[in-house]
Symmetry: D2
Subunit: 363 residues, 4 copies
């Protein structure tokens, strides 16, 4: 099978670098276009990125010599590109949102990592194990916006919610609706991009605040758990979430301390463990290349999950949980963990693209 | 005024070292006896401790040359010692508990940092800003146990609860009873003593488990908020606490993410800030040497409190809070911080001793 | 081709765990026997190791259910085992040395990670890119010791020297003999095993001392650069090395700051870069499975090599160098880096075994 | 005695903050003027600095409400200011150098932390224990530049050299001239200011490069060991220094691994220890407030000095050394440590000002 040619918008930032790294040797997709800001445009990708390359492996051979294109210069898009990953980090969010739709109107599916279009009603925000069906909002999006050539924008949610959303959804899906969640996250520095958090703020220190993160953590699940309406996604309103988001001095991995209050029945610990062990979603059914085989891995040792030991489970795409126990205030509590730059960023975007390909939205 | 002579049981461990460090130049107390295990007994304190000395200042002059006494050899207690700080870390908790009472029966007040006697009904567990009146259980303890020479055991609670207890109590005291607390702590490695946490477990890592810590965090407040009964402290039963305790890679400082559900009225943010700003306890009224002038310091910047910048506030004895905000699930949430080896350990013990001295229990 | 069955002595320690991890899916070797101390003996490997498992991936399927054998119980050795990796960490070094030879006398090649037999004259200490020919001491060893069944002991050197030995040797081999080396190492905590370095000693701290490490760093190169004599390896005596070894708060990767004084001619920077770029050793000629394709990788960016970005180069088996520049005191200086638990421990041992297999010493 | 009024140029940066922190309650000096960039000008100091305040104690009362002055607006200088500390961090070094001399020409002694004027011949670069006599270049500087009102510029050297200069000088002064030094430094992140090192570069990582640092480390000692000539300082040329400077993930404290080759006689270890123990300089003779009583503290334990335990020795102003031992290549090697933001920055500047006051250059 010939690989589908794709491009990366914002290819020189940290998330863009992760896309480049993770797409090396991807069985379906091949990066042939790298776009970035005017400062990088015209340089070879290797030269544009070498001073700020953060990955623990070299710039892939097939991408080193690509000439970086100005993201605004859409006339220079190579003719064989079929879709784009967006990892743009523009200073102005509304320009970023508009740029993604500019590409969509040109006929390109845009699989985005950006927060700019996340709250837009007719843009699906996907965790494929949970709401793969939300891709069906795409025709509505195209109709709403007069997009005629097959383009669209689809996004992934914030990295802070990845470590608890699938375990929570698995319980809901199994017939145990949830009423309330109180969550405290411990998030790695890589979540803030580069240069991101100054080391003076985090070496031997904790920062109990990440701008905008708590609001995203409390609101984005409502869209993901929502339903498709006539004009867009209708938000779910049956769960209350209270979140505290903190930054901690580790390189990768976001952890969440989660307390759950069920709405009706309370599952036993054995039931929960079985629900998590048995849970599979659309990516697993479709056997997508980046889909973790076991989407929710439960670690029985009492001191797990731990970022260093569990973030790379199933190539960084699985959510690892542990410490399931009774909560004296709510019903149960547990610890969730996911790899923020893989599952929570570029890896999640790639899984979204794979879903869209499998379902015919990317051709 | 001549200083009161005291001793430290378990003087060579990390908590013991903190007592030695913090008592240097104490205006009321002077260390004249250092006791430890048989391995250290007979050595000069400096020699016994030098390989494992963890403090960021030298062994104080007045203690360097004291000969370490075997803690079990009570016949060798210097005659001028009036009371003891206990920082013992015996392998068996019941032996440790018994040893403290052995000293009490010999007539020595034992101001303990250990958990061994914390759950004993007639032993006061003190945070002097909250329950200074619990020292009045001491005559009952003496009677219960036939202690006739003025000895007793008084303890301080676990370090994990110090960063939220005073702020929570201040609200209760001001007329806003609390129904539920959900708490996640982020605790420094110094809380585990020495050698404590292996670096392989915590460099670039988090450990979402600390043995016994969550149970202590959920239960010890009930005793501190309790009342004196005929035979011992009667536990408070009007608050439910759910705690998750995690270990993070910082040197010092325990942080708590706290969500509060009030029982009746909900104070406004302005009210809470005023309650915290105005709060004073018995240590402040008595102007005890180790009492923080402002027991609860509120930091207005949105990214505070932070361990590196706030743990040393008022010599490590203040609790610093911040990020007071509405909780979509409960009523309000905030972040609390305290220095675990000062306020949460030796400094807290010294404040207890100062209270007991001021109230005539240590003479 | 059927895989050669092997075992791991000391399989439950951190180095043993690394062997188990790295040998999963090895093309030539298969672990069928795991031996450890009496405390672990009789348990399934998974149960024996789960509380202290430090790897960032699960215990491999093929090893989980192996029953741990007491390392001293040689009668229970499975009949199909052809050779052993030794990762023992016995309290007494001489017992460990003797145990390795006990296995050798039973006919087993022992490929060791231990320091116990490193200074023994007739035991080869191998970095296969440098002194692959030292395996020819094995017949002398067997003769010296009356080993008749094909067993022997071969060792790898200390992890602290891996980041500079190959780059230094490449220059020597290219005709630029070296007279003096002054080296300061910055070594990761994983080098100390588990529990190893207490976190209180290394969180926000450096320790400028590692017991025995400087002596190893100064002496082991003399054996590796040595020649085979009639009875054993004759030490090289043409280089003086002065080493300072420090422990730093990172998880993995040993870095070395190296100053070189040449004995005769001084190569230009261009010559050095070319020598390093072109250098290949026996493992590359034999195309051994664990051999890095490019044994010495030069990073041109001025702030490299860095542990987080370069330790995993070529699966952790390459040495990465950078910052080649003139030294105002000696001739040139550079920075070297290698992965201490891969190239510097289990990965290095596996490469040794591959060499011994390719050369017919393991069958 | 009435305190001498002073100001801080660049008062809002990290070094400026350290001056503000360390000058609180200084017995001789009182900060009455804070100057910074136009962005901060006009604000209260507390407001200008609160978002980036990095100190572990609050903004001092006496400085909180000072209105920040634009550093270029010299007409607004308060009339009672007698001298300035300079902690400017201008983008252009030559403008910074010129600005310092602008203040000097207005009659103000400028005690600078900046590197801008360090290499200027007639500007003394002071470590008062070593070259206090270099202040006698000041009249030459004033004459060279037509400064008539008593102003001048005096600087302190780079933080990277503080941990070895005094121990090395003490040996030279005692009659053991030194020929060569090979040095590797391990430097804390606070040395890079704020925002400084991105956390992505240093969490679980080392960076073996600090821009310009090695050149400073190799060259600045030549000026400090130099002599006053007719027009300026004549550089010392009898020592060769080769330096490698690395950044490590600790908050504070610069460590140096040092190898020494003596020119003539080699002192014994006992001699060296005695020389260091007995060493006193001009600050000690003058009993200056910030002078450490024991300028060189030797720690006998084999694993010291360590940043966390030794950086605060004598309020962060002492140099702590350890691990004195034979070097197989040169003669001896040792480890040096100093607090980079105290001794190596603001504390060093304050000691310089105290010296200049004691000697009549500040009145």
């Amino acid at each position: 099978m010939e690989k589908i040619k794709c491009g990366v918008l914002g290819a020189t930032g940290v998330v863009g670098q992760n896309y480049i790294r993770l797409l090396e040797n991807h069985p379906w997709f091949q990066v042939v276009d790298v776009a970035a800001s005017p400062q990088s445009a015209g340089k070879k990708y290797f030269d544009a990125v070498s001073d700020k390359w953060q990955m623990n492996r070299s710039v892939p051979e097939g991408v080193r010599d690509l000439i970086v294109r100005d993201v605004a210069d859409t006339k220079a898009i190579p003719t064989d590109v079929k879709f784009y990953f967006s990892a743009m980090e523009m200073p102005k969010r509304d320009e970023e949102a508009a740029m993604e739709f500019e590409y969509a109107k040109l006929g390109y599916p845009v699989v985005s990592n950006s927060s700019a279009n996340r709250s837009v009603d007719d843009v699906p925000m996907l965790i494929p194990e949970i709401n793969a069906d939300h891709i069906n909002i795409i025709p509505i999006q195209q109709k709403n916006r007069g997009i005629t050539k097959g383009g669209f924008v689809a996004v992934k949610p914030n990295c802070s919610i990845q470590s608890f959303m699938t375990p929570v959804f698995a319980l809901m899906k199994a017939g145990f609706p949830i009423e309330k969640l109180i969550i405290t996250t411990l998030q790695a520095v890589s979540g803030a991009g580069y240069p991101g958090v100054p080391s003076l703020d985090i070496v031997d220190n904790l920062v109990p605040f990440i701008g905008g993160e708590e609001a995203k953590t409390e609101k984005e699940p409502m869209k993901i758990f929502g339903k498709i309406g006539e004009k867009g996604i209708i938000l779910f309103d049956q769960i209350k979430i209270g979140a505290t988001c903190t930054r901690v001095p580790i390189s990768d991995g976001h952890m969440a301390s989660v307390s759950i209050k069920f709405k009706e029945k309370i599952p036993t610990e054995e039931q929960i463990l079985k629900i998590w062990a048995d849970f599979r979603g659309v990516p697993q059914e479709l056997d997508l290349p980046f889909a973790p085989k076991q989407p929710i891995i439960y670690q029985k040792q009492e001191n797990r999950p731990q970022p260093k030991k569990d973030r790379d489970n199933d190539k960084g795409m699985a959510v690892t949980v542990g410490r399931l126990r009774k909560d004296p205030v709510f019903d149960v509590k547990f610890i969730g963990l996911s790899h923020n730059t893989v599952r929570g960023a570029a890896g999640g975007g790639i899984l979204n693209a794979e879903l869209l390909k499998a379902k015919g939205f990317i051709k």
